[in-house]
């Protein structure tokens, strides 16, 4: 039995079909890259799996249980977490306080109104996370003042606060300069690999997809075009046409901009 499975997942907004008959099965410890042009349905997929959107049709199964109608907070507690395209963090607090709060509420089923949040073991755990994600120099700064890349890391770190079995990362390197992308992915993937979590990450950069993903799912116009090993999917003709672009430039170790970009026939 698959860890996470969607069956016939469909989502329509009036006359717009954001997702149509999505069938995906995910097993433990997989690292799956999700690609597709903007509007192809990738974030809609993540929103449905994590309960933010309710599908028009179809169902979502997690560890044999139907989670289609569950709220995001219930799904989080069951073991599926996510990061966001635009980092959803607490802007007026410090980076450390963000993590502390995340860990603090993850620990108990219901947040306490009496026990202080600043428990030594929580502080220690937060320090570990700061170190592991290489954010030490930003520890006490207000998040509103931090660079986008650090906010992305924080967003991902907070997603991991619940020690989920599955984590979905929505464009973890978007908004980050090309030279930093790999650095961030190395840090993130290193941290995640240690926990044994199953990872699905949405990416536009094909090089990152092939380097970190053991499997690739390609979305286009709300449907799945291809689902398989990176070499196979990235070479697929339809994927080339609707996602990557007719000509795939292979990077030769030179500066970015030569890497394959999505677009092509999809306007």
């Amino acid at each position: 039995m698959a860890l996470l499975e969607t069956r016939g997942l469909t989502k329509t907004f009036g006359s717009v079909t954001a997702a149509s008959n999505i069938n995906v099965a995910v097993d433990e410890r997989e690292v799956i890259g999700i690609i597709g042009a903007n509007g192809a349905g990738k974030t809609t997929f993540v929103n449905m799996v994590t309960g933010y959107l309710k599908p028009s049709q179809g169902s979502i199964w997690y560890r044999g249980q139907d989670i289609t109608r569950h709220a995001p907070r219930e799904i989080t507690r069951m073991g599926i977490c996510r990061s966001f395209q635009v980092p959803q963090v607490f802007m007026s607090s410090s980076l450390f306080d963000n993590l502390l709060l995340g860990l603090g509420v993850a620990e108990q089923e219901r947040p306490s109104f009496w026990r202080p949040l600043r428990q030594p073991h929580l502080v220690e755990a937060a320090e570990l996370i700061v170190a592991r994600y290489d954010m030490s120099q930003y520890r006490d700064q207000q998040v509103a003042l931090l660079p986008q890349g650090v906010r992305k890391l924080l967003d991902i770190a907070m997603a991991m606060a619940h020690r989920p079995r599955i984590v979905l990362l929505d464009e973890p390197t978007s908004g980050v300069s090309v030279s930093e992308k790999f650095g961030i992915m190395d840090v993130v993937m290193g941290a995640l690999r240690d926990t044994g979590v199953t990872v699905l990450f949405i990416e536009h950069d094909m090089e990152i997809i092939s380097r970190y993903g053991s499997r690739v799912i390609a979305f286009a116009e709300g449907t799945i075009l291809a689902d398989g090993p990176p070499q196979q999917v990235l070479a697929d003709e339809q994927v080339r046409r609707y996602v990557i672009g007719e000509e795939l430039h292979r990077a030769s170790g030179a500066a970015g901009g030569e890497l394959g970009q999505p677009g092509g026939a999809h306007a």
């Binding site: 974030t43 929103n47 933010y52 966001f84 395209q85 635009v86 959803q88």
Partner: protein, 298 residues
């Protein structure tokens, strides 16, 4: 049977009053996202100004029918002067701040204006019954209706239709609607949002003052008449959905008819039935009857 007619007519009259009073608030709320607590003071100022002018007018012995023009004049003047003063002199420094803070600013303005009324007109009540008596009565069986009250219905319909037409068929109206939908986008398209704000606020102020002006002949004008108006007007706006003229009309109609029914049938609940209706509507339609849902955030 007659009770039903009484409820219907009373309901429509009250609904008309509610509409005139609430539509200005709804407009300002829809365009500027500001809940103008001072709307109550504009209403009161309109009433006092109308009462004063009507008094002077009849003392001067001019043609009685002209007093209606005087009321309109009072409303326009109050709306223009106070509206401009409030918007240009106070509110425009607050744009971009938290909307609750802006509400508190309008609340402060309300407090200042309320005492200004005391300073200008004192605590004694003002009366301006002449226009009311002028129009006489109409009777159906045992029921008598004042024609003045009935003409309120006409006034609110005319106002509503004019406003709706202006919003949907004139260029300025469409600019207003654009700002209601998305202020930033409107600015990006080159719409002078600042000017739209000023115009909207003054228009809303005039409508609020108009509500007071046409009410003056029906009541004794005393300090404090503005206070109840705010909450009632807000309830109507919330029920109908912010920035929606049809919404304000439907909201006023619902509240007016229900209140008339309770006054005749269950007088005990009269005072708060409007809030009960508001809570009920919000329980099923959180954005009001004609409100729009918010856009997706993630």
């Amino acid at each position: 049977m007659l009770t039903l007619l009484a409820i219907l007519v009373d309901g429509l009259v009250y609904a008309s009053w509610l509409f005139i009073v609430a539509v200005g608030l709804s407009l300002i709320f829809g365009v500027m996202k500001i809940l103008n607590v001072a709307h109550g003071s504009l209403y009161a100022f309109g009433a006092y100004a109308a009462a004063t002018l009507i008094g002077a007018y009849f003392n001067a012995g001019w043609a009685p029918l002209g007093s209606f023009a005087v009321m309109l004049l009072a409303a326009v003047a109050v709306g223009a002067i106070l509206g401009l003063a409030l918007e240009r002199g106070l509110l425009r420094f607050m744009y971009g701040r938290d909307e609750v803070i802006i509400v508190l600013v309008t609340y402060a303005a309300f407090l200042i204006l309320e005492d200004s009324i005391l300073l200008i007109w004192g605590t004694n009540p003002y009366f301006a019954f002449q226009p009311y008596a002028l129009l006489g009565n109409a009777s159906v069986g045992r029921l008598a209706f004042a024609n003045y009250d009935l003409s309120m219905i006409g006034l609110s319909v005319v106002t509503g239709v004019l406003l709706w037409w202006a919003l949907t068929h004139t260029r300025q109206g469409k600019l207003l609607q654009a700002v209601i939908h998305d202020r930033e986008m409107a600015q990006a398209l080159g719409i002078n949002v600042t000017r739209v704000f000023t115009a909207t606020f003054v228009l809303g102020a005039m409508l609020g003052a108009l509500g007071g002006a046409v009410t003056a002949p029906q009541i004794s004008v005393t300090p404090g008449i503005g206070v109840e108006v705010i909450v009632v007007a807000f309830a109507v706006v919330v029920i109908g959905g912010m920035g929606s003229i049809p919404g304000a009309a439907i909201g006023a109609l619902i509240v007016g008819l229900i209140r008339a029914a309770t006054v005749h049938l269950f007088p005990q609940v009269e005072l708060f039935v409007i809030y009960a209706v508001m809570s009920l509507v919000l329980a099923f339609r959180p954005a009001g009857l004609f409100g729009r849902a918010a856009a997706r955030k993630i």
